[in-house]
């Protein structure tokens, strides 16, 4: 009997220990604490990694590692001939996550889709300002209120999006994080209990992982969603170890305290590549660093002057000094070469200081204001250093640049003012892989005062990009964007710097991890070797 007890105890102990030993955990060293877990109200990549890309799904999804759209919660869709009606056929049998704060009683259906979009567009909804500071910035930023006429429920598994005017990038927009689908049933539960703020800190979605716990500024814990419609993930637990310092992240991944890390310092890339245990993935980022000239103020209202200033900058040396070992691709166009419609025939101004000096002298250009910020951006790791090097190049052609340096937030505020003088360094990281997201967001006439830092409004360019937005014909769109790039090169509203190389570092025991061109950090499909 005693022996039996001992054997049973040993068996139980083995089962417990065995159970924990087989729980596969992936630790990701993330770069910052999330603002909250409601992806419709946040804009930071770190916020969205911890919510949209782990807990939620969308009607359409970006294919893992690409900017192509694939079915998500919508199994298929049709677009009407006039481009105004999108009909989505919803996936059946999709379950929302069961957590200790919510137990769904029904599967995902059309009501969830309507709720997810309408709450962002209805100022009378209790969700419009469910916390003191709620604002749906991405929904607004992508002009959704302007383009959306109505979301219509046809039946439980069919919804229609009716547009006010044709908008080709709409499908790509619906793959973005702000378009994540929430449970209307969970929202009703929160409304009933009066705990609306739980929507931002206790998320419920249909995604691959479900939320377990967040220790402020320290760690976020997720576990695999057992009911995930694509099947349960191979890893059991996913932990975000919040590690804001890039050097510390690199040290942690080298010490094996993290399996994956985001955003290494350019200076650490060589060291990480040399580590035999690590897999350093890299690709040309879907981004662009540039310097906007205010095209409405003299002398920068003259395209010849802008070209001359571009010609005076030794771009190769500048890129080498800024990006070092991490590397970057010289920008010939506003969009990166990996994006469809990139015009290979367009070349930006070549380095020619002698010609530049001649033109600038002829136009009597001797002084210019040059802007720099303190922030490290993927498309420009050091604005201040760039400003100094550009200043030195311009000095060689007889132009004295006065550098104005500011902290990031007031910097952008000052930069976007239509009467801001001089040359303003800025850049962009693509949201959805559509060229419209670069051209219209950064240089449309309507973006002046918001994100068109050149205050540039060119009728021919504007016509191209608006026509491209209004047609679904890919060949036509490509031709229009190619033409827009030629106009951009001719008018030179900005000095184009580079598309930076983006890195993602993982321990070699992690398999199935894919670097994402949109800069997302996704862990669906990953596995960790024992």
């Amino acid at each position: 009997m005693k022996l039996m007890h001992t054997l049973l105890a040993a068996a139980a102990l083995t089962a417990v220990l065995g159970g924990s030993a087989y729980a596969k955990t992936l630790v990701y060293c993330s770069e910052a604490s999330p603002a909250n877990f409601d992806p419709a109200t946040t804009t930071g990549g770190n916020d969205l990694d911890a919510s949209s890309r782990t807990v939620f799904n969308r009607l359409v999804e970006f294919k893992h590692g690409s900017t192509e759209i694939e079915p998500g919660l919508a199994e298929s869709w049709d677009v009407s001939a006039d481009g105004l009606t999108y009909t989505f056929h919803l996936r059946k049998g999709v379950k929302f996550q069961t957590t200790d704060y919510f137990t769904p009683t029904r599967d995902f259906n059309a009501d969830d889709v309507l709720w997810s979009f309408n709450r962002q567009n209805d100022p009378t909804s209790p969700w419009a300002k469910y916390t003191e500071t709620t604002s749906y910035d991405y929904f607004q930023g992508m002009d959704m209120p302007k383009f959306t006429k109505e979301w219509k429920k046809v039946d439980d598994y069919t919804v229609q999006l009716i547009l006010t005017e044709p908008n080709s990038p709409m499908l790509a927009n619906l793959g973005m994080d702000f378009a994540s689908i929430f449970s209307a049933e969970y929202a009703a539960q929160l409304e009933k209990s009066g705990n609306l703020t739980d929507m931002s800190n206790k998320p419920v979605g249909t995604g691959p992982f479900q939320f377990v716990d967040y220790q402020l500024d320290s760690a976020i814990r997720f576990k695999a969603n057992p009911d995930y419609w694509k099947g349960k993930e191979k890893i059991d637990d996913l932990i975000f170890a919040i590690t804001p310092d890039a050097t510390t992240r690199a040290q942690k991944v080298q010490a094996g305290e993290c399996d994956v890390m985001a955003y290494p310092n350019p200076a650490d890339v060589g060291m990480l590549k040399a580590d035999a245990n690590l897999n350093v993935m890299e690709q040309a980022g879907l981004n662009v660093g540039y310097m906007s000239y205010n095209t409405t103020l003299a002398p920068l209202d003259n395209a010849d002057v802008r070209h001359a200033l571009n010609m005076a900058i030794d771009r190769d040396s500048l890129i080498k000094a800024l990006f070092q070992d991490a590397g970057a691709v010289k920008a010939e166009n506003l969009i990166p070469p990996t994006m469809w419609s990139w015009n290979k025939d367009v070349k930006t101004d070549a380095y020619d200081p002698a010609k530049a000096a001649e033109i600038l002298k002829a136009h009597n250009v001797t002084a210019i204001q040059l802007w720099a910020s303190d922030r490290v951006r993927p498309y420009n790791p050091n604005f201040a250093r760039a400003a100094e090097l550009i200043q030195a190049d311009w000095a060689k052609v007889g132009v004295t640049a006065t550098i104005t340096q500011m902290e990031w937030t007031p910097y952008r505020e000052a930069g976007k003012k239509p009467d801001r003088p001089g040359a303003f360094q800025i850049g962009w990281s693509g949201d959805n892989g559509d060229p419209d997201n670069f051209f219209a967001t950064l240089f449309a006439c309507s973006a002046i005062g918001v994100s068109n830092y050149s205050s540039w409004c060119n009728p021919a360019f504007e016509k191209d990009i608006q026509d491209a937005k209004g047609t679904a014909d890919m060949a036509k769109r490509t031709a229009l964007y190619e033409d827009a790039q030629a106009i951009f090169a001719k008018e030179a509203p900005a000095f184009l710097l580079a598309h930076s190389q983006v890195y993602f570092v993982a321990n070699k025991k992690v398999t199935g991890i894919v670097q994402d061109p949109l800069g997302m950090h996704r862990f669906d499909g990953t596995d960790v070797a024992e």
């Binding site: 603002a35 909250n36 300002k129 003191e132 170890a241 590690t243 804001p244 080298q254 902290e407 918001v450």
Partner: protein, 335 residues
């Protein structure tokens, strides 16, 4: 004694009012505002900006915003973080134990090593031991925290693998905080190895944060000891034939400790300042890191409340030190 304490407490009120004005004013003097900080790379249109300004209450005159802030504080409402939407005081209470634990360990480290070093240096005045200890203390005092922290991490964590790189505990341990102090919570959790893990995570941050106070305490102890060792009563004690240990350890040390206690109290402000850097190096989830992030985000309620509560803590510690000083040195109560 009671009058002494009341006098000190009365001084706190105007100081507090001054601090609320500074906390409210400083963050608003910074260019930029939370709306733009939150907007992301798309920015906001002018119309939307005005709308959000009204929603956040930033359209009101500054004095009105200030009085509303004070009114709310008096009602116990410290506001909601603009970026996380959570009550600020709740976030503070979640993070403060981490800073408290680290600061306490650093103070203990500084006292336990600093006082004996000061005593030894004083007792061996002028010898190579004295010069060596004080030279090292000077180096410690001048050490830039960020550089010192990185150096220790490279040596002990990434090269020798003796200590973890950052964080408060290995992520394999998961339990709900009870006290917020990881050493205690890890013991309470009953999970095997959790306490050792928490302790090993504390070693480097404690050394980094405790280095400057350690140097200050060692130097202060040495100079205080030297002062009292020249006093008549110490000479008398020696003349009585007491052993060196009793002369130094009992007669001299007790009196020398009076200024050292004040020094330790003053180090609280230094520790909270140092915690900001130390927490950044070691990804230590405390209030230092929280405050810095909030300044970048122009999260007014967090910065205001953080500054106010930190100032309150420093004042409370100074008050305790004043009282303690009065207890161990009765002469002070007369003045």
């Amino acid at each position: 004694m009671l009058r002494f304490i009341l006098n000190r407490l009365a001084l706190i009120v105007p100081t507090l009012i001054g601090i609320t004005i500074c906390a409210f004013g400083f963050v608003r003097v910074l260019p930029g505002d939370p709306i733009l900080a939150l907007a992301g790379q798309h920015g906001v249109t002018a119309a939307r900006y005005e709308e959000l300004k009204v929603q956040f209450g930033f359209d009101k005159p500054l004095w009105e915003q200030y009085f509303r802030y004070i009114g709310n504080i008096l009602h116990g409402d410290f506001g909601q973080s603009i970026s996380t939407h959570s009550p600020v005081i709740g976030e503070f209470l979640k993070l403060f134990p981490a800073t408290l634990e680290l600061s306490l360990c650093a103070v203990i480290f500084a006292i336990v090593l600093g006082i004996p070093i000061g005593i030894i240096a004083a007792a061996r005045r002028g010898t190579w031991i004295d010069q060596g200890l004080m030279g090292t203390a000077l180096v410690g005092y001048s050490m830039p925290i960020f550089w010192w922290g990185l150096l220790l991490v490279i040596l002990f964590s990434t090269t020798l693998h003796w200590t973890p790189v950052s964080g408060r505990i290995d992520l394999q341990y998961f339990f709900k905080p009870v006290t917020g102090l990881m050493l205690i919570d890890s013991l309470l959790s009953g999970q095997k190895g959790a306490f050792q893990s928490a302790l090993s995570h504390l070693i480097l941050p404690t050394i980094v944060l405790g280095t400057i106070p350690l140097a200050v305490i060692a130097r202060q102890t040495r100079s205080a000891m030297l002062e009292v060792m020249g006093e008549d009563y110490v000479r008398t004690a020696r003349a009585k034939g007491l052993r060196q240990f009793r002369v130094v350890g009992i007669h001299a040390l007790r009196n020398a400790l009076i200024p050292v206690v004040t020094t330790i109290g003053l180090q609280v402000g230094v520790l909270l300042g140092g915690a900001i850097l130390t927490e950044s190096i070691f990804s230590w989830p405390g209030i230092g890191k929280w405050m810095v992030d909030s300044i970048y985000k122009r999260d007014y309620p967090v910065v205001q409340t953080g500054l106010l509560v930190i100032a309150l803590i420093v004042m409370a510690v100074n008050l305790i030190v004043d009282v303690l000083y009065a207890v161990i040195n009765p002469r002070i109560r007369v003045h």
